[in-house]
């Protein structure tokens, strides 16, 4: 029994100390962003590896998610004779929920894990220490550009995911199942609200980009500098990011769409 409370205390304390370290880390990273702006080359290189290299997985997943939505939506809507509403159904589920959430989950798996492993290995091979001894702040030179690029790339990737998904829904619904093309697009245009749907979706993806980049970079920076430590940190990035994305999605949805 005493053991149980001892362990509970230990876990709570280490949890709080990690929260403290990560908050302090975030403040350092944010203050380092000002030194990234005068050197766009650092940012462009990271935008490429975080954003452009995630392009393929986002595009293909978006296409399939959109096609599945088209199929499932058609079967349900056609029971009620409402298959013209397929376009609005596909688009609003993508823009409001699936776009930001699934793109963020994929982003955490593709780019987040890569960031953690990269930073963790840089720590393990003393590259970060080496920079400190050369009087170069690794937060400013290495971490802040990666954070900023994750933060900028995520909304763009989510928008890409949703757009490709809408095309996927069109392929499944209109081209394969014969929904009227005019009503697919016009219902979508008429019923999707820019403020309520699109802006809220973008806000979500900005929040997710911020959180996933933060988690990924902190886990790498805080990793135990051994091969096992880096591998655990990479796993934690994916797991913690998934939790954070889904929990935040609920909170944001409740704030944006629910009357809670």
């Amino acid at each position: 029994m005493i053991n149980f409370f001892q362990n509970l205390g230990k876990v709570t304390l280490s949890g709080f100390s990690k929260l403290g370290r990560s908050t302090f880390f975030l403040l350092q990273v944010l203050s380092g962003i000002s030194s990234v702006i005068p050197r766009p080359r650092l940012l462009i290189a990271q935008l490429y590896s975080v954003g452009v290299l995630s392009f393929l997985i986002i595009t293909i997943s978006g296409l399939f998610v959109g096609m599945v939505l088209g199929l499932q939506g058609f079967y349900i809507l056609s029971d009620f004779g409402a298959e013209e509403a397929l376009g609005v159904m596909v688009a609003s589920s993508l823009v409001r929920e699936l776009g930001p959430v699934v793109a963020a989950l994929l982003f955490a798996g593709r780019a987040g894990s890569a960031l953690t492993a990269e930073i963790g290995l840089m720590k393990a091979t003393e590259q970060l220490s080496g920079m400190e001894m050369m009087a170069i702040d690794p937060i400013k030179r290495i971490i802040s550009p990666r954070f900023l690029s994750g933060f900028l790339a995520m909304p763009l990737l989510a928008a890409l995911f949703s757009s490709i998904g809408v095309i996927g829904g069109h392929i499944a619904g209109v081209e394969m199942l014969g929904v009227d093309e005019g009503s697919y697009w016009s219902q979508m245009q008429a019923n999707l609200d820019f403020q309520d749907d699109i802006v809220n979706g973008i806000i979500k993806s900005i929040v997710f980009g911020f959180v996933v980049s933060w988690i990924a970079l902190f886990e790498g920076y805080d990793a135990i500098p051994t091969s096992e430590g880096v591998s655990r940190a990479t796993t934690r990035t994916v797991v913690n990011s998934a939790f954070a994305i889904l929990a935040l999605d609920f909170i944001l949805t409740a704030l944006m769409f629910g009357d809670i």
Partner: protein, 271 residues
């Protein structure tokens, strides 16, 4: 920067420093000084905290007790910006080289110059090529760090460490895992650079022969204490059994071959 002034003064002064890592005490009230312009070696078996000592001097770790002064400045009382200014005058060669793996040799050496100076690219090019020439790797400028052998990586790291013309260089186990040719090259380079650039060198190592061949003064560490010090000659003739065992590499002596355990016979027949 004129490094030749006050050749006889101490550049690093460590006073009564204690440091623990978790519950393990690594240094127990040690004091030592490093003379300007000389090659000073800190020797001792693995795990005695030799690398920790360099990190304390560089301000990456903070001692529990005691003070460390580098060039008359107390490292652990400096503000962050001042510490970074001081570090520009200290080079450090890590055991792994610590080169950035995503940029090539040339850019690795140019990095501190680009970060800390406002020199033009053509000036930086000249400096980088001079540093690379000094370590014999001018032709390797376009290689990536993963294309270098261990010895070459250390020489590139050495070129990077001298890029900003520091007043001293700290070498962390520079000889470990080197083939005989790389070893000879590194020993020669460390000695020549120290004299030619009027540096101060601190070598942390357990490679007795190589280190003793170039060091002006040696400290021997064990169990958190300094157990021997002097010129290589004095250390060789030390009357401490421990120092003798370490210098000669005997398997048994004050440091036992066997890790502490219960009696062998009892252990075997224990049911």
């Amino acid at each position: 920067m004129d490094n030749s002034v006050n050749l006889n003064s101490d550049i690093v002064s460590i006073q009564n420093v204690s440091f623990s890592h978790g519950s393990r005490k690594i240094f127990d009230d040690i004091s030592l000084t490093i003379q300007r312009g000389k090659i000073t070696a800190v020797m001792g078996p693995s795990g005695t905290g030799k690398t920790t000592l360099l990190k304390l001097i560089g301000g990456q770790l903070t001692p529990d007790k005691g003070s460390i002064e580098v060039d008359k400045e107390n490292v652990h009382q400096l503000k962050r910006a001042d510490l970074y200014t001081l570090r520009k005058r200290m080079g450090m060669l890590f055991q792994s080289g610590a080169l950035l793996t995503d940029i090539n040799v040339y850019d690795n050496i140019a990095l501190p110059l680009r970060e800390h100076t406002r020199l033009s690219e053509s000036m930086i090019r000249t400096l980088v090529l001079m540093k690379l020439h000094a370590v014999g790797l001018r032709g390797a400028r376009d290689l990536m760090p993963n294309e270098l052998s261990g010895g070459m990586a250390r020489r590139v790291a050495l070129a990077r460490a001298i890029a900003l013309d520091p007043m001293m260089i700290m070498y962390d186990e520079p000889f470990t895992g080197q083939d005989p040719i790389s070893l000879g090259t590194l020993v020669k380079l460390i000695k020549e650079l120290n004299n030619a650039l009027k540096l101060t060198s601190i070598i942390v190592s357990h490679d007795v022969k190589e280190t003793a061949s170039i060091a002006d003064y040696i400290y021997v560490l064990s169990g958190g204490k300094i157990i021997g010090q002097g010129t290589p000659e004095q250390i060789k003739n030390s009357d401490s059994e421990w120092v003798q065992q370490f210098m000669k590499g005997d398997a048994d002596g004050p440091v036992h071959f066997h890790y502490p355990a219960i009696d062998y016979q009892n252990d075997l027949f224990e049911t």
